[in-house]
């Protein structure tokens, strides 16, 4: 693959901070980045070999590529190398990627298509295998407007290793079984507004965010096409900005962080049901600005989370040390029952990285690495083991 086999070497001297710049030969706007997890790792390993996916958008035909990150020299100064193992071209923008397990991943495109890929492995050493490439195993055209015009599928999430849920601008939700290659459940045009993001909060429950800023909880087992819970943002604060990112608090699955187009974030307790107020608001003046692309919590230290935004920042959010810093507007009736440190102490943030162009996606690996990519066409990996 001329131009895609680049290998970059950079040095890590053990300090927290950018360790590599990779994928410069991607050369296209990056829409999504995702680590390929090959099972849980409980003890982060700073020298672990890892694999990740990068998808692009902006051209008529875009790519999804599989990359390998590995240490090539260890010692006082560690050196890492990244290699592109395989790439595939697809029509349309790639809008979402989800990794099902170490063997499969699925993605969605702006043509309303969901595709499933199987990862191939090769032997490394005597008894271990590692990813070496991928191949297309299934593709379905799912989302369409009335009149059969393809509707952009906007996001995809895996609810378990064999099922994915896709959402789109047609307001439809589809649960698809990778095993049986069938649509298991569909909510046709269930949301009158475009759905921009979906997150799984259990095997049979998902939450979606739409263009009007609403967050809805859906029960995939229910025969009703109505959402179980509908959370409406404060229109005066949010001014009809769409909900574009959702993250579930790691140890309290009923707590959701929602990022909006306006750069605001709300923290919701979904147990409070339809019509409740958020437990806390992070207003745009206090935030880093620009639509929040993705929100990811730290795997172990759940009071720390990371965001990327359209102004090109990767921010690390953490409980405030400074009493004078007030980033959150807390709804005093709604948060005291939530055992969340930054709700008590307040929230601060630190810009870890700044790019002149938008950063659209980030992903955190079990080995405490944060991977991000955006419109500069460059993917960055930073070590966050110091968190």
């Amino acid at each position: 693959m001329n131009g895609f086999d680049s290998e970059w070497e950079t040095t890590q001297n053990g300090q927290t901070g950018p360790i590599l710049e990779i994928g410069t030969q991607v050369g296209r706007c990056i829409s999504r980045v995702r680590w390929l997890h090959a099972g849980e790792t409980f003890i982060p390993d700073a020298l672990a070999t890892e694999f990740f996916l990068v998808s692009t958008y902006g051209e008529d035909s875009n790519t999804v590529s599989l990359w390998k990150l590995n240490a090539i020299e260890t010692g006082y100064e560690n050196k890492f190398k990244t290699t592109c193992l395989h790439k595939a071209n697809l029509a349309g923008n790639i809008t979402g990627i989800t990794v099902l397990d170490g063997d499969n991943f699925a993605l969605t495109t702006s043509l309303g298509i969901m595709s499933v890929f199987k990862i191939s492995h090769k032997h490394v050493g005597l008894d271990s295998m590692e990813p070496s490439g991928f191949s297309l195993v299934d593709t379905r055209s799912l989302h369409s407007f009335s009149g059969r015009m393809p509707a952009p599928a906007t996001d995809i999430v895996a609810t378990d290793p064999t099922s994915v849920v896709t959402v789109g601008e047609d307001g439809s939700i589809y649960e698809y079984s990778i095993k049986t290659k069938e649509i298991v459940r569909s909510f046709e045009k269930a949301d009158p507004l475009s759905i921009s993001v979906v997150s799984s909060i259990g095997r049979s429950e998902i939450v979606t965010g739409n263009g009007g800023g609403q967050v809805k909880l859906w029960d995939l087992r229910s025969s009703s096409n109505q959402p179980v819970v509908v959370l409406c943002p404060n229109v005066l604060l949010n001014n009809l900005a769409g909900a574009v990112s959702i993250a579930q608090y790691p140890s309290q699955s009923h707590v959701l962080f929602v990022g909006y187009q306006s750069g605001c974030m709300d923290l919701w307790d979904i147990r409070r049901g339809t019509g409740c107020q958020p437990a806390a608001n992070l207003v745009s003046e206090a935030s880093t600005g620009g639509a929040i692309g993705e929100i990811q919590f730290h795997r172990i230290n759940e009071d720390h989370f990371f965001t990327c935004n359209q102004l090109g920042s990767i921010s690390h959010w953490f409980p405030s040390e400074d009493d004078d810093v007030e980033m959150l507007q807390r709804n005093l009736d709604n948060f005291e029952h939530l055992n969340i440190e930054f709700l008590r102490r307040g929230l601060s943030y630190l810009d870890m990285y700044s790019s002149p162009l938008a950063i659209n996606s980030l992903s955190i690996s079990p080995n405490d690495r944060i991977l991000c990519g955006g419109d500069s066409g460059v993917a960055y990996i930073t070590d966050i083991s110091g968190v």
């Binding site: 296209r28 706007c29 923008n93 952009p152 409406c232 943002p233 009809l240 500069s376």
Partner: protein
Amino acid sequence: MEVETKSNYGKVILDYGPSGLVIASVNKDSNSTASVNKDSNSTELRVLHALHLADNPFIKHFMISSSEIFCKLQEEANKLFPNTVPQSTVASYSRKYRGILRELVASFEEARDSSSASLYYNLEFVWHFCEIMFISSNPELPVLPYYSEWIHLNFDDSKVVVSHLEDELSEMDSENAKKMWGVIFKLVFHGKTKEAASYLSHMNPTNSPVVEEQIASMSELMRKRPVYHPTLHSVTNYERAWSAWKEEVELRMSHRIFFGHEELLFICKIMLGDDAAFENAKDKIDSWYEYLGMTLTYKYPTARPGSLKGHAKLVIEEFGFHDPANMVPMERVLLEAMDYNIVSVLRDMQLHWNYPWFTLHFADLVYCNGRFSSLKDIELESSSVGLLRDEFILDHGTTLMQHATMWQVGVRYLESIPDRGGWPVIKECIQRKKALTDFDTHKIISVAERFGFSGEIHGICRERALMKLKQGQKQDALLWSIKAGDGPLTTHILDILLVDGTCDIEQSLLESLRNALPCADRLLFLTGFCDFRKMMDRKDLRGAVSQLCHLIKENLIPTRMADKIALNIQHFKDRNTTFEDWQVSTLMEFLHTRVNPSEVGDDMFQKLNSVLLCNRAEGIVKSLNSAKIKLVK
């Protein structure tokens, strides 16, 4: 950041053809008189098109990296305004640009695209020289340190040759010895006498004690040669040291220390600036600028930048490379730079390169430094640089704005033009951007918001609303029309929704409608109806009935909605809740005058009627009972 070249390609001559820029590759080992293939069918020729450049991933990364450097420099310049950016800072930014140029060359080399690698290699070559003349060097101090570095970076192949001969250094045959001597000579020509001295120890294959002594003596001379550094030495002290060293070389020459050793004698004569040795050296040198470097090193080590042109002319005549009138463009640019003619340099680079990357970024560096405006003894059209810079930015920025994925980079350039000069272009281009998805639309809007282009934002939202309408997404269309602030369009979409009859509009949309547009009957009805629905959801029947009666009384309910609205009456059946007389009367009148029984169905109509009658009856019974109680009391 300095990055050493990994290899030297043949020099690429930039030439101007009838249809645009043409490029020809020249073999490094070819005759020193460059031969340019002007055959338009030749595979060596290529025309550059600016837009297509950004489709190459290497170029894209290069352009984004250069935009980052550019933006950082603008930030720095803005912070220091009205002062200019210090020379050292501007020089460091210039080196960053060169760094990414070399990175680009390396990428093309790795991809085996030698013509592109050569192209950018030569661009960096010219840039580096211009950096020396316009940025790094001080017109009142010797230029040699910078010039030598430039020559050595671009013409040094010692490491490559030595790496091939590494295993044979201790026992070289005559051919390899010749190659090594070639390396040593080159290093001497470039003024890198210390490095040359380090290789001399390998040049005694016979282990002759006489040769050993000669080599030791020469190494000592080479190492002792004073090298000027602008921050470490004064010119006077350097000249003194230089004269002393020259005398020592002459002394050793006169003592015939190197007698019998042809190569060492040659080196000694070069170091003395001997004309005959210089004449012999021409065979070993590829270009007149390399020869000029040697001339400066050993004859005029304290030459100022302003005297370069004079020396260059003499060298060119002596060297006999070119008739100055027929010089290739790159060399003309070098001579114009020696003249401090920044405008001519920019003009020629723009003419030959046909793409403003060089001119834009270099003009910007010179502009930020503002150095030449204070120098009185150099005539320079410095006032033109700022204007040229703005023009180049406009050109480059506009080109980028047309690209599908690079347009955001274009915005960053255009916003740096003073007095918002680039804003009209940004505005114009944003309006023409095609957005196929909500995600793309929001990207465009976020850029428009940064500049406060509210008209354009409304236009984009309106386009989106119309597209959603076409796609059958009515409520989505309503959302976008509200964002557009387009009253007529919003009303039109509301009409469509009302015709559909469901009135089942998302809560957040309804909330926004209250504040979105000036009062209109449809909006008043919808917002009133929204309140009615909320009360019904809360089981606040009294409030809901009151609200419905208000809508009826104010005549806000559209005729076509009356039947559907009336169906809500069936939910008013509640023994515990009796309504006011006037409310029941209002509802009854509404039912009998506005509702079509055939539309709702006769059974339903009767049911609705009976709900109201029952409620009325309950009310009468309650009031009679309370009257009875009073009488009893």
